[in-house]
Homo-oligomer: 196 residues x 2
């Protein structure tokens, strides 16, 4: 059943976000016609990654080690801890080249309606880290309703320990034209105005 074999691959490709039936079909045809080796290599890398990658015991980021390289790196400042929602956000902050401290990855935000409470986003592990060494916690969490709630929750937990807690600034993006910016963002930008 050639049809079935190909259809099963088309179905399997739909586990990838953003891939619908048409693009899955296009991918299969492309691989069969032009890149069978690429497809085999992709299969191999998928298995390796799924087998080897787990969460770092300290920061919850993806790693193949017990403690990830970033957490164990002596080159990074352990006094400063940046809390992000997910690994992609961590990568985005790393790309700015501006932060040299360590990270904590929540792997989500508080969302009681979906059954995601403090335990699911590793608040206990974060709390255990916010002792001795850490002097500053930067909350680099998005400003959705869940993000706000999560940031608030973490801030309330950490502040009593005498650690400085800050949240990344909300305001107009670079190159942003005021007339196209939503009222919520503009309102935050006004509230957070700075004397120059």
């Amino acid at each position: 059943m050639a049809k079935l074999i190909i259809d099963e691959l088309i179905d399997a490709l739909r586990c990838l976000p953003g891939v619908g039936p048409k693009s899955a079909q296009r991918m299969v045809m492309h691989l069969l016609e032009r890149d069978r080796n690429g497809a085999r290599q992709l299969a191999d890398k998928l298995v390796t990654t799924m087998d080897k990658i787990r969460h770092c015991a300290q920061c919850r980021n993806f790693t193949d080690l017990e403690i990830c390289q970033m957490c164990s790196s002596p080159a990074r400042d352990g006094q400063s801890l940046c809390v992000v929602e997910n690994p992609a956000d961590l990568i985005a902050i790393e790309q700015t080249g501006q932060f040299r401290g360590k990270y904590f990855v929540l792997m989500g935000t508080l969302s009681p309606i979906d059954g995601i409470g403090p335990d699911e986003i590793g608040i206990d592990i974060l709390a255990a880290r916010c002792v001795d060494e850490v002097k500053e916690v930067i909350l680099a969490i998005g400003s959705s309703v869940e993000g706000e709630a999560t940031a608030h929750y973490i801030a309330e937990m950490i502040k009593p320990r005498g650690i400085e807690v800050s949240r990344i600034a909300q305001g107009i993006p670079m190159g942003g034209e005021l007339e196209y910016i939503d009222a919520g963002t503009l309102s935050h930008a006004l509230t957070g105005r700075k004397v120059i």
Copy 2:
């Protein structure tokens, strides 16, 4: 090297058409966070498909058999042969439900500049099929420069054999508004006008 394992998967995903570095990263994060089983299944289906699927000896479509199901089906009319560029085009025509004959899949179009000559698109196999049984050949080939050249080439080869050769109609698409249609298409639609 967790970083390396994940980066290798990101690179491997880029063998898929339409997947750039950002969406590949998003795919990896999604799979790691939410669908590790889906990823393993995808790897498995990729290998099976690449290993088992080859070209049908009669129509060149993808199949896991020597002769594909469609070619060997007694329910399909062997007198009518529809020539398409690739398997996706065949699927599109099948979805109309209007054609009950058999197919021939070129797997490309003539393109001397890229070294694609008659042999590469299986003209010899097509020629071998255009004997005895076949009474009509429908060229369902796109109207790019290469498509036109390919259709012309095949028509010239088949006509002397007394087989009826036709080309699918070119004209305005359904629901198409004239003001948004390109001049080439409109010109074909005018030339191909029909008395009603």
